[in-house]
Amino acid sequence: MAEASSSSEFPKKVVYCGVCSLPPEYCEFGGTVKKCEEWLEQNHPAMHEKLYSQEAIEQNLSALSLDAQKRAEKDAQKKAAKAASAEAKAQEQRATSKVLIKRIERNKRKYVTAVQGLEQFGLDIKKVAKDFGKKFATGSSVTKVPGGGEEITVQGDLSDDILDYLTETYSDIPEDNVECIEDKKKKAAG
């Protein structure tokens, strides 16, 4: 009997934080609480009100001894510092990384375009390759680069289109960090 009434109640829908991926009630234990809170306020205002009210915060604190509170706070600070430095590092990496768009002559008048360096901007290469294929209605695949790493190979001469597409779609990639070069067939042996 209870089952019939409860079957509509389940599966329970659980909200997961758009920043740290945990249920928002656990955001306080990660190093990105500030960002998590902003996200929740924008996306789930009612839940935000409940979790971040003065009352809720006081209640959380009263569950711990003074000593434990101090240790927890120290721990939280450490975590936040760690997260901040990781973020700074990622930003620096983005600022110095380059995306290379190479036009390669395959046959007379036939070209492929190779794109390297996207992984440094935290992009999923396979997914981007698929998006290229769809966007430009052409063959697009991921190939291993000798010396490690992967590049996307797109059929056709699409250097300029890809440049535009990348800088429009991914705001994380500054236009200055994208370079188009030409790779003539059979250059000096190398």
């Binding site: 389940f10 659980v14 945990l22 009630e25 234990f29 959380n60």
Partner: protein, 196 residues
């Protein structure tokens, strides 16, 4: 179990006969999932097996992880599955102070369960009987080796699932030591794993 980030191995399709076997195992281990099993593992949909490091197998339905298993050990539910059907699993609760340790991958220690904020079977403050096993005349006490889901004081959703290292009766007596082994916690490598 998943303290480090994990790189999943290749995905393979589970044969329909094997799929039936897994379904039965799930029901044997978690009989309370019975009313929902067709939603969780629809008979006609393809179950995938993803190999994870250290001989752990993960069963998933398209990109949704469901259960994982180390060799022939019991099947353990993924936390997102627990969040969807929390009442179908045997649960205990840790106090607030223990949460941050669990979420950083430390072993779950008995005092986190025996303190005022924790809940072992038969706790007087647990009037709805949410925590512990089905009472088999032993007050719902659980034995070592049983799979339990760990909820937390002041939180709605579970944060950990693992296997009891010590019976709950013994925990109440000794009040120290490691409570659970291995397992899966919020934010660990299994949680972060992207199957898409």
């Amino acid at each position: 179990m998943f303290k480090k980030d994990i790189t999943p191995g290749p995905k393979t399709k589970v044969k329909s006969s094997a799929q039936r076997g897994i379904r039965q195992k799930v029901l044997d281990q978690y009989p309370q999932l019975e009313p929902y099993i067709d939603d969780i593992m629809p008979k006609k949909e393809q179950l995938d097996l993803v190999k994870l490091p250290d001989r752990i197998a993960l069963y998933a339905l398209s990109a949704v992880p469901l259960f994982f298993q180390h060799m022939d050990d019991p099947l353990l539910p993924h936390l997102t599955l627990i969040h969807r059907y929390p009442h179908c699993f045997t649960r205990l609760r840790i106090d607030r102070g223990a949460i941050r340790f669990v979420l950083s991958g430390a072993s779950l220690m008995v005092p986190g369960l025996t303190s005022a904020g924790g809940r072992l079977p038969g706790n007087a403050d647990d009037t709805e009987g949410r925590y512990g096993g089905k009472d088999g005349g032993d007050g719902g006490e659980l034995d070592a080796g049983e799979v339990v889901v760990i909820e937390a004081e002041g939180k709605e959703n579970a944060c950990f699932v693992g296997v009891l290292k010590m019976g709950t009766g013994e925990m109440k007596r000794v009040r120290k030591g490691q409570a659970l082994e291995g397992g899966h916690y919020l934010g660990d490598g299994l949680w972060q794993l992207n199957l898409a």
